[in-house]
């Protein structure tokens, strides 16, 4: 066996391995403003670090991706109820702590603006620009009666299930559940 050739092939395998693993996979489960913000800060930061980023939105995080100006068509009574009760998009989600009937969240948003911290809407737009991939859990959408035509315009946003997440997670060096 030619040792130089073998070394060359091993080196190539290693390079390929390196490239495929430089990825961050995130399950975004929470529909809280604070946790969503943290998710997007980490996601955009990871792109800056040269990583590929995949976010999976499931359960309470899915309604946070709705567009407040759009309406889903063909909903049954439960879908309509869920639609009414859940926050309609990034500007409607609230803090996990100290919401205080809206006062706390309002004050936090005011402070963020004053201190020049990006809003959740801005962070989502930035993530889209940078190429953060977003998958939305098909089961959550179905359970809560949500439709893709009521979601925000986000480049490349797709429906997916658990297998897609696991495939991405298995090929990622960093995995988070938020």
């Amino acid at each position: 066996m030619d040792i130089t050739k073998e070394l060359e092939s091993l080196r190539r395998d290693l390079e390929e391995h390196k490239g495929s693993g430089n990825k961050l996979s995130m399950v975004v489960f929470s529909g809280d403003l604070d946790k969503l913000l943290a998710s997007f800060i980490i996601a955009t930061g990871a792109i800056a670090m040269g990583m590929e980023v995949v976010m999976f939105f499931t359960f309470w995080a899915t309604p946070a991706l709705r567009d407040k100006k759009k309406r889903g068509k063909g909903k049954d009574i439960f879908g309509k109820m869920f639609g009414f009760m859940l926050p309609k998009g990034p500007s409607k989600v609230v803090l996990s702590k100290m919401h205080m009937g809206g006062m706390g969240t309002g004050m936090m948003k005011h402070l963020m603006k004053k201190k020049n911290i990006s809003s959740l809407d801005d962070m989502i737009a930035l993530a889209g620009e940078l190429g953060v991939k977003i998958y939305v859990c098909e089961m959550s959408m179905d359970l809560m009666g949500m439709k893709m035509d009521e979601m925000i315009d986000y480049p490349g946003m797709e429906l997916a299930g658990v297998a897609k997440f696991l495939e991405e997670a298995a090929g990622s060096r960093v995995q988070l559940f938020i």
Partner: protein, 80 residues
């Protein structure tokens, strides 16, 4: 004796908060800078003192000089 560093571009990141300084710098370095060129990033974000070196190490670039102050300056050399 400190040798003079040739600066090719400067970025004003004053007032920007995490993660924007790193996001903007990485984009600029990737899209607009040539290998060997030096970018000076001016920032008021205290987190930058941990973030810029971490970013440089991970992305394979080099911080050649740091001037600390109310506005800190990071001299970033593109290596690849």
């Amino acid at each position: 004796m400190s040798e003079e560093i040739k600066v090719d571009a400067t970025m004003d990141l004053k007032g920007l908060k995490c993660p924007l300084p790193i996001v903007r710098v990485s984009k600029k370095v990737k899209d607009e800078m040539q290998v060997g060129q030096v970018l000076v990033a001016e920032t008021t974000d205290p987190g930058a003192h941990a973030d810029f070196p971490a970013w440089a190490k991970t992305s394979g670039n080099e911080i050649v000089k740091v001037e600390k102050g109310d506005v800190s300056k990071f001299y970033i050399k593109k290596l690849k």
